[in-house]
């Protein structure tokens, strides 16, 4: 099956979803799609640069808190608020990315972790603005511009998230298949050689990290608009760890894999948490099994089966 056909099929099914599933299921589906977007954004670093960020919660938290504050205080329309939040996240990400990309491997993981935890700590420092441990609650979804009020209801919001997810996926895929992506592949395989060919590898890595933060910030902003609140847990390092699990279990370096991983875990959590409180144990065990035995992730497994058949 060709990629175009598969994409058209998935998009077609996704468009019909709100008509066939009950409203309460739509909540889980929208959360799953937002997490898919978040996981995909992390894959840009993990899969394409082998930069294991343990602080991607910073992108999610920044996007969510920026959107929360902009929507609450400025009363701009929802979509403009989200766009502004992404811009602010990108602006903050540039210096962070520049500093973090001076290292690789474990040091990179620790630096990103430090920035995310610093953000987490700042939430408690600027309590009057961020609400401290209570977070920001009652985030509105102002309509507009031009009187557009499509995103007020859950179904409309679903389409907004779907559009962001598809758009981001297509954009990231195009970037990773361009010359830019080819240089990243060169860095991944042999950074010294790529550098000696005249590419400023650090600039490429910085750009990728900023892109990753931008898309992650979009996911966070969409979450804040959907949930109506932003809490400090969004910034905490366990969020970074969980999304990393989704990327690896889904299959890093494929964009689609991490999305599948996120969908898999969100739905699994939703189902399991109704019958057992042991789901984090299952979550962790599945993750360990994938790291040890199936480093290609879910997508790798599917492809292997496809190749064998």
């Amino acid at each position: 099956m060709s990629w175009r056909l598969a994409l058209a099929l998935v998009a077609g099914v996704a468009l019909l979803v709100p008509f066939v599933v009950p409203q309460y299921s739509l909540t889980v589906i929208v959360s799953a799609l937002i997490f898919s977007l978040f996981a995909m954004s992390l894959d840009l670093m993990v899969g394409y640069c082998r930069l294991y960020s343990f602080g991607h919660a910073a992108a999610y938290g920044l996007g969510a808190y920026c959107a929360a504050l902009i929507l609450t205080h400025l009363q701009v329309p929802l979509v403009i608020g989200i766009a502004l939040a992404v811009l602010v996240t990108v602006a903050i990400a540039v210096p962070i990315a520049w500093i973090c990309t001076r290292s690789t491997g474990v040091s990179f993981a620790m630096l990103t972790l430090a920035f995310a935890q610093l953000g987490y700590a700042m939430l408690f420092r600027f309590r009057e603005l961020t609400g401290g441990s209570d977070g920001v609650v009652g985030i509105p979804r102002p309509p507009g511009p031009f009187g557009i009020d499509w995103f007020q209801g859950k179904t409309g919001y679903y389409y907004l998230v779907l559009a962001c997810l598809l758009g981001s996926y297509l954009a990231c895929r195009a970037i990773m298949r361009s010359n830019f992506g080819a240089v990243l592949a060169g860095i991944r395989e042999n950074e010294a050689k790529t550098l000696s060919l005249g590419y400023n590898t650090r600039a490429y890595k910085t750009a990728t990290v900023v892109l990753s933060y931008g898309v992650g910030g979009l996911a966070g902003a969409l979450y804040a608009g959907f949930a109506g609140y932003a809490s400090p847990e969004l910034f905490f390092w366990l969020t970074s760890g969980h999304v990393l699990i989704m990327v690896v279990v889904g299959g890093a370096g494929t964009l689609v894999g991490p999305m599948l991983g996120a969908l898999f875990f969100v739905f699994l959590e939703h189902q399991l948490s109704q019958v057992t409180d042991l789901w984090p144990l299952i979550f962790g065990s599945i993750f360990i099994a994938f790291v040890m035995f199936f480093p290609g992730g879910i997508l790798g497994l599917l492809r292997r089966r496809h190749a064998a058949a």
Partner: protein, 290 residues
């Protein structure tokens, strides 16, 4: 209130905090030195140590028993971990695999602790002999915290002498410098790795038991403390033993004085310190840049 005596009490408080942190950080840095693994499960191991200690003390009625049983039991669990989960990944080209695996172990271990001990915090009574306070320059100071400082100091010196003076210590330093060469010279490097991993876990468990009378054993204790330990190890230099001592003291002081003078900024100060060190010296104060 006399300012000098107040500062002294604060300093002692910071040192006792540093002592507990040191027990976690020294294992973390040794494990990193030998295996190049950042053990995300170290916080969960610390928590496990605290819970095992509480149970051991409850069963035997003795704090000393807890101090002995918890490190031994948790050290053995650590060695089993290394043997079963980490060893198969040593040949993996992708260095991220270990980072991910230990994170998975942290999640699973925390859940197992919750299943076995339940969600309620477990308290561990301070032993009779260490109860009460002493007056230092007319400032009251808990004896238990003095005990922590003494124990931390003793452990630091003992470990340092062990690493510098004994043959096993030499082996550990050699493996952390060039494991392939040590292997070629006929030493079972895998055995050294298992032993060091187990030892690191035992030290963390000891830290857990020592922290339990101060904060009780609770489910979130690992997730917070592991980040503190990371900060220490990164500030001191990954794999550097002396660095972990310096880092522990620095972080202990930043935490205690930060909490007093800056309140809301206390949490952020620690990360700021870490970022400043990393930007100035990417390998940490005493570490090598990779």
């Amino acid at each position: 209130m006399n300012f000098a005596s107040f500062i002294l009490a604060q300093c002692l408080g910071a040192l006792s905090q540093a002592a507990v942190l040191f027990f976690i950080a020294c294992g973390l840095t040794l494990i990193f030195g030998i295996m190049r693994i950042v053990n995300f499960a170290h916080g969960a191991i610390f928590m496990l140590g605290a819970y095992v200690g509480c149970t051991a003390a409850a069963l035997s009625g003795s704090f000393v028993a807890a101090l002995i049983v918890a490190p031994l039991a948790v050290g053995a669990i650590g060695m089993a971990f290394e043997r079963v989960f980490l060893r198969p990944l040593y040949g993996r080209r992708d260095s991220g695999a270990h980072l991910l695996l230990t994170f998975g172990l942290a999640v699973v271990l925390s859940e197992l602790v919750r299943i076995v001990w339940g969600a309620q915090p477990k308290s561990l009574a301070t032993p009779e002999a260490l109860l009460g306070i002493v007056m230092i320059l007319e400032q009251p100071f808990p004896i238990y915290r003095l005990f922590l400082i003494g124990l931390g100091l003793a452990a630091g010196i003992a470990l340092w002498q062990f690493l510098e003076r004994t043959r096993a210590g030499l082996l550990i330093r050699a493996v952390s410098q060039n494991s392939e060469m040590v292997h070629a010279l006929g030493t079972d490097v895998d055995l050294v790795r298992t032993a060091v991993f187990g030892f690191g876990c035992a030290m963390a468990a000891l830290g857990g038991v020592l922290a339990a009378p101060l904060v009780t054993a609770f489910l979130g204790m690992g997730a917070n403390v592991v980040i503190d330990a990371f900060v220490i190890v990164i500030i001191g230099g990954m794999g550097s033993f002396l660095g972990s001592i310096i880092g522990s003291v620095l972080v202990g002081f930043v935490q205690v004085f930060g909490a007093y003078y800056f309140q809301d900024l206390a949490l952020a100060l620690m990360y700021l310190l870490m970022l400043i060190v990393l930007v100035a010296r990417p390998g940490g104060l005493l570490g090598k840049e990779e």
